[in-house]
Amino acid sequence: MPLFSVSSVTYDVPGRRLIEGLTLEIPQGGVTALLGCNGSGKSTLLRLLAGQTRPTAGRITYDGRDLADWPIRALARDLAYLPQTTPPAEGMRLQELVALGRYPWRGALGRLRPEDHAAVARAIARCGLSGMTDRLVDTMSGGERQRGWIAMMLAQGARTLLLDEPTSALDIAHQVEVLGLVQTMCRAEGMSAVVVLHDINMAARYCDHVVALTGGQLLLQGPIQTLMQPAALSRIYGLPMQVIHNGGQTLAHPC
């Protein structure tokens, strides 16, 4: 059974159609890259997959069940979403931010139990932030803050992570750090991730599957190898691209 199954989905905002008649499947396990040039509808698709908005027409199933039928907290226990720009977490400590990830389990009133605290500590440790639990999120570096938010998603206990351009504000070292973390988690623990990315080479290095959109319609889906072909890349970005193989690495750049 596929992780997500999108069938004939259309999404309109007043005066504009962002996604048109989209049908695709995203497999269980591994990292799926969501690619496309600006305005291709990739962030919108991610928001639809996260259940943040409902499609105007068509339907999306997650784990075989219509997204609209998932109770909101049950969904949050299974599926975590990180928006493109993380909001300022004013005056909040890392520990407190990550603990918010337990909300889907305990709701507004339930006390946090030992297993919740353990989940929070484990999430922080997995993101390599163990020494910083008392730091204010505001004062952390960009990469640390991004990992902090990912730790919150892990504390949710979700099997699936949806990340919207998690690396756009980071330097190359931090990009590697964050994407490496996502890849490791998917490989080691059988989780799935859908990541919106701009950098094709990062996608090629860290992702297993690819979905590419243009103008709100599907351009390409399949294993990551299908992406790294000059013809496919030219169709995505609308300009001639070439692919270089260099000691097991595949790199793409414009001609």
């Binding site: 928001r47 996260a50 259940g51 943040q52 909101i72 907290r73 049950a74 969904l75 949050a76 226990r77 975590a80 979403y81 990180l82 928006p83 993380t86 909001p87 300022p88 977490a89 004013e90 005056g91 909040m92 407190e96 918010l100 990830g101 909300y103 889907p104 709701g107 507004a108 009133l109 204010l136 949710q156």
Partner: protein, 655 residues
Amino acid sequence: MTLTRAILPLALVLAMALWGFTALRLLPWAQWPALPWQVDAMSVPQILLSYGAMPRGAIALLAGAALGLAGALMQAVLRNPLADPTTLGTAAGAQLALVAATIFTPGLLVTSHLPVAFAGSALTTVLVIWLGARRDFAPVTVTIAGLLVGLMAAAIATALTLSQGHYLLSLIMWNGGALTQTDWRGVWRLAACLVPAVILAAVLARPLMALSLGDAQARALGVRLAGLRGATLVLAVALSALVSAELGLIGFVGLAAPALARSLGARSPLQRLMLAPIAGAVILSLADGVLMATASLGGPSLPTGALTGLIGGPLLLWLLPRMTAQVPGRVEQGVQTAGRARQPGRVIGSLALVTLALVLGLLLLGRGPAGWGLVPSALWADFLPLRATALLAAMSAGALLAMAGAVLQRLTANPMAAPEVLGVTGGAALGYAAVVFLLAAPGIMALALGAATGGALALTGLAAYALRHDMAPARLLLAGLAIGALASAVLAAIMASDDRRAWVVLGWMSGTTAQVTPATALALAGLALGILTLLLLAARWLEIMPLGSAVGQALGLPLIWARLALVLLAGLATGAATLLVGPVSFVGLMAPHLARSLGLMRPHHALCGSAVIGAALMGLATFGTRTLSYPYDLPLGLMATLIGAPWLFILLLRK
């Protein structure tokens, strides 16, 4: 499209037809005086026409044009489609300055009202712009800052008016914004200023176009930002002050005219600056034409400003959904604070201790016929229950407002959110006024019920409106603002009727603890504790909400219902406190900020801290009202405003 283009000419024709109808009812065409007019030889109806109806028609066009231009200039320079002399507090500044001058230095007004009006307008506008500059001129924040400064100015003006009893008839008419004329001098004065202003605006249009790309871009294109901003704002404030000085408070024409110009397809700043005055002239003429025609048919003669204000509220609501392109949806950043307290529990504990000590001091200390002193023990039995009742009621109200403010600021992630902005207080004021006018001799319970019903209705309307837009916080604030504008317009019309009962409403609006019974005080205290408990239970919601709706939804928060519940709680708290304090006090804005500056960050700490600080502030305020001008009780809301407003400005200005 052709229909929209025809709107302006059609409206102008209609306005002129209404004017002509009134004029011809006054005097048949055959008897209209020939030019040049000889006043001594004219009959009274002829004078009424040529020195009354004619200049009135002309001044409606001119004042509308001036306000339309002022609004267009403000909107261009602030890149904010919600800016106008009403929402930036410009008009309220003129009001306060004129009221103060009428009372303290009437000599200043003998030659002209303009310098005084301009000084007041400039003062409040500079204050609002200064606050806005600290927040990158984010439209919603600037609008709220303007509204709050305006409310503060109006509260002080109300208190001053009240202190003069019945004798400031001129102020009441001025508040209503009446266009009645008895000669042509006002018309000439307005025209003499408007013509150069339009030329100057045309000159400013191109640099303003560059500014519409943003500060950095404009600077890169060689625009001198400070000079441009200064010149544009001075021009806009001068135009608004001119109308204020000649005619009084005429709200929302400056907001409506540029909006109409935009919907007619004026895209560039030059087009808007030229079309907005025309639209403003037509809007005001039409409104005044309707009023003149109804008065001529024997209907009531309402001041025109009250009518434009009445249109303004719904207009704002209509404009909002159409403004998505212009109002940035980003979260407006919170105030940077002094840092987080290491032991928040201790901070709250010491706050509570200080407040307790304060309570004892305030109970015993006071002022008698011969001066300051402690109450002698022989009088304890008489005085302490009185003082304790007033203090308990005021402190509970303070805590309620503070909690409402803390919730709203977290809910909207906007540091300027306050209960005053929610429209609940405006609704409560309307409910109170309705009871005062409908019942012959209403008792306290009837009045309380009226205010509570009004507040609840406003809140329901607000929630219903905001629910349709997923309760988006910026919408919520602006819708509240619109309800507030509507309420103040109705109140201005009531005031302009100069009914004795209007003074009862005015008196209540500035707040008093004098009529509180022990039962009311205990009920308020119980409500404060109850709401605090409920909010503490919702602390986890309040922690997630400032992170935005995407995060909230991703974590499985029932966003709409959580927001609705919190808004209703905040509204209930505000409504209950308003009954005692009156519509404006700023405690709801100040207390959460003070709590933050003490480092109380997490929701439950911030709530408890805000509640204690709010209670203490309001306790101090009751003490001030009781003692400062003994035996005359000062308005409680005013006192709280005066205590807190300076603090607030300091906090907001600290980067």
